[in-house]
């Protein structure tokens, strides 16, 4: 029997192989060390290095593509696709993983007696994420999503905190498995109707007859809703604040950025099959528009009423999903694809950077595994820790979308892509949502800079976390100032998927 793939294919999935192999190191060392927790070298430095090498390997694939002038490559008889999107998002996921490992090492809410298992699960969640990014086939996408989600369910339950984390883990697990079941049910219907789950083949299959097939529509809506759960769009968002509140903060930083990034890339690949262009699918477009509007409003209005910083950021991440969906609407129409997709990707990247920074700030301030940071805890932050307070302010301003930051340009590209496709009223609601959001993003700022009272004391020893806050804040400003080259780069990367 001849194998239908080249051994060369393995070269391109090196990031995944590196991550998995390195993830075994801390666990194996622990096993051979009579179940004693290994030291810093195995629990921290090796996985960090692994994540960085994986990011480098992704970048290497990108460099090879650039030098050879090829735009995309199919691997393993079409199961995976390597294109600009997979490479760029892959680098970002690996970097997020590295940052999360730093946070996890310094956070009090991660059980230090189980750090090696936590690192193992984090790295395998990243393996799942890379698979979703590369997936060219709905089945591969599903397996990747499951790999990522199962690792995350366990990680949520492994927090040091006892009550909320168990509730969050069970809630996330039950609801998440339900969503996954709906997703795979939808994939089965799509296979039954179209005879394929392979995305490039699906593109050629989609036509008016297929779209009048009830089975196909049922499958498509199930797949859309399964993915909508993962990115917490409106009717499926209610798990987000509870799960984020119950999970340890480093993990939330990883979930809020990584999971959203890859699930939106999966949605992008699905919508890039141009399935929503047809007249028969107009009702989907209607539903998605309303979902975007209500998600933005619900996220922003609920965040107004939160005093708990983590819940506030959780609702804000719900609202940001709504903004990204506006960009996806532009992708679904026939001539705004490249514009819409590159604005979506640019926004996702900027969202990942600023959200990761904001959650690292929470992780930096938490004194023990049980501390729930309130906005009033930030009082007098600016006088005690001026640079940290300044960096957090930059991140918040970027989340709110105030001009020189990357958040503004992200929203600008998104909204202009949607306007050029004629989604005026959705964009109007998006702008209204951003205006509302300014209020709750500015509240911590006011408390930090204008109040002299003492809030919570700062842990001085978390150097890594501190540096991550600085790095993300600087990135937010730098990419904000020179956003156009970045945007053009993403645009050239995105052309390969159409």
């Amino acid at each position: 029997m001849n194998l239908s793939f080249d051994a060369v294919d393995i070269k391109y999935i090196l990031p995944l192989i590196i991550l998995f192999t390195v993830s075994l190191v801390p666990v194996l060392v622990k096993v051979f060390n009579k179940n004693k927790e290994p030291g810093k070298i195995y629990n921290f430095l090796t996985p960090m290095l692994g994540a960085l090498i994986a990011a480098g390997a992704s970048a290497g694939v990108g460099a090879e593509f650039l030098s050879k002038g090829i735009s995309s490559k199919l691997l393993f008889s079409g199961a995976l696709v390597m294109d600009g999107v997979s490479v760029l998002a892959g680098i970002l996921v690996s970097l997020c993983l590295g940052f999360t490992i730093v946070l996890a090492k310094e956070s009090p809410s991660i059980n230090k007696n189980q750090l090696s298992e936590a690192v193992f699960l984090l790295m395998n969640a990243a393996v799942g994420m890379l698979t979703v990014l590369w997936a060219n086939n709905l089945l591969v996408m599903f397996v990747g999503i499951e790999m990522m989600s199962l690792c995350l369910y366990i990680l949520v339950a492994m927090s040091m905190e006892l009550k909320l984390s168990k509730e969050a883990a069970l809630k996330y697990f039950v609801l998440g498995s339900f969503a996954s079941a709906i997703l795979v049910y939808g994939i089965a219907f799509i296979y039954g109707a179209a005879g394929t789950v392979y995305l490039p083949e699906l593109i050629t299959q989609i036509n008016a007859t297929l779209l009048s097939n009830g089975y196909f529509l049922l499958g498509l809506s199930f797949v859309l809703f399964g993915l909508a759960f993962k990115v917490s769009l409106f009717p499926f968002y209610s798990w987000t604040p509870d799960v984020y509140q119950g999970s340890s903060t480093p993990l939330v930083a990883f979930m809020a950025t990584g999971v959203k990034l890859v699930a939106f890339v999966a949605l992008l690949r699905l919508i890039a099959t141009q399935v929503l262009q047809f007249q028969e699918a107009a009702v989907f477009l209607q539903v998605l528009q309303w979902m975007a509007v209500v998600t933005i409003l619900v996220g922003n209005i609920a965040a107004l009423r939160q005093d708990n910083l983590k819940r506030m950021l959780a609702y804000s991440s719900v609202a940001h999903s709504g903004y990204v969906l506006i960009g996806l609407l532009a992708v679904s129409s026939s001539d705004g694809q490249v514009l819409g997709a590159s604005s979506v990707l640019f926004y996702l990247f900027s969202y990942v950077i600023m959200t990761f920074g904001a959650f690292s700030f929470l992780s930096f301030l938490e004194k023990s595994h049980e501390s729930a940071l309130m906005i009033s805890d930030l009082r007098g932050m600016a006088s005690r820790r001026p640079y940290i307070a300044l960096s957090f302010s930059v991140l918040l301003l970027s989340l709110a979308g105030i001009p020189p930051t990357v958040g503004f340009f992200g929203k600008f590209y998104l909204f202009s892509a949607a306007i050029s496709e004629g989604f005026y009223w959705v964009v109007a609601w998006g702008v209204i949502g951003s205006v509302i959001s300014v209020y709750f993003y500015l509240r911590p700022l006011v408390v930090m800079f204008m109040s002299d009272e003492q809030g919570v004391d700062v842990e001085p020893s978390r150097l890594g976390t501190q540096n991550i806050i600085f790095i993300t804040a600087i990135l937010v400003l730098v990419i904000g100032f020179v956003s156009n080259p970045f945007y053009l780069h993403i645009q050239s990367a995105i052309k390969t998927i159409f």
């Binding site: 199961a79 193992f120 339950a157 009550k163």
Partner: protein
Amino acid sequence: MEAAIVFYGLSFFMTVLSLGVLFNPNPIMSALYLVLTMIGVSLVFFMLDAGFLAGVQLIVYAGAVLVLFVMVIMLFDLKREVYTFSRGFFTRLLKVFTGVVFLIILVKSFFLVPETKELLNSSTQMTTKNLAGLLFTEYIFVFELLGLLLLAVAIGAVALSRIKGGTHAE
């Protein structure tokens, strides 16, 4: 004709057995009814010429998964769990409500797609050998990835059993 008689007979028994799973107050008996239902499902697969799936259904579901179920049932303090989940007027109302909603969805979905269609590619015979060939060529990546998934989940389960506060934290 014979196939139809066997199929409807099987379906009838499976329905009765699955009702037994639902209505039996003793969870161990429920699990045993579930074994019988699984065997029925594997027979249906066998009738559809899916020998491999039938075998997997028997080995994995009727064998491994059920043993796991029974073990977990023995580990839990079931009286307390039963008490927590089956009291109160509101809970009962919610159960009935969800049941009715799902029934409506089920009936509606039957009317949504009234016509029956031939399965695509129904002519190709899916033997175990073909399946294995596909698994190790076209789907090799997913197949290997599922291996990683199982490993991650196994280690995760062990880690979960050793978390601070145990699995039944107050």
